[in-house]
Symmetry: C2
Subunit: 106 residues, 2 copies
Amino acid sequence: MALPFTAMSTPLEDAMDTLIRIFHHYSGKEGDRYKLSKGELKELLTSELTDFLSGQKDSLLVDKIMKDLDSNKDNEVDFNEFVILVAALTVACNDFVEEQLKKEGF
Amino acid sequence: MALPFTAMSTPLEDAMDTLIRIFHHYSGKEGDRYKLSKGELKELLTSELTDFLSGQKDSLLVDKIMKDLDSNKDNEVDFNEFVILVAALTVACNDFVEEQLKKEGF
């Protein structure tokens, strides 16, 4: 896959590259190559966000996430919708990190 | 810094971790430890998004980005505002990637 970054990329550029690569790895499996079906989304979440999902006992979680993310109601998740999920999770993780840092007196 | 992920993290979890670490590396340099001043934002952008900025000849770009991101008008960028920038840039990169893939017949 030809990404717009050069070979000498920074960690932040690598992280952005990772989001794009992971999305397309799963979205290309079936149906629309550029969207995640519910099955593809479930496979991505269980394989790539293991720590996040391991604490969840809710078997309907993937359905709930799909419903929340699928803002245009086509029962598929496009890249923009996927990035919103990752952004929301990262903000939640950062809230946890900042809380810990403040507790430790930073 | 104690992040909520275990040692056995996935590439997607590593990417989220990278966003948090990079933000705090720069936000901790001066003033509010949990927000980027204009100077810290400029340093982050020029050091960590070199490919993105190298094509830009606009010396006022950092001022424009700060103005766009700083939704609560405190002249600083918090983590939520930073993640919105990264998400928007990643969506732009993905648009480019998908256009290339479609041209190549995928």
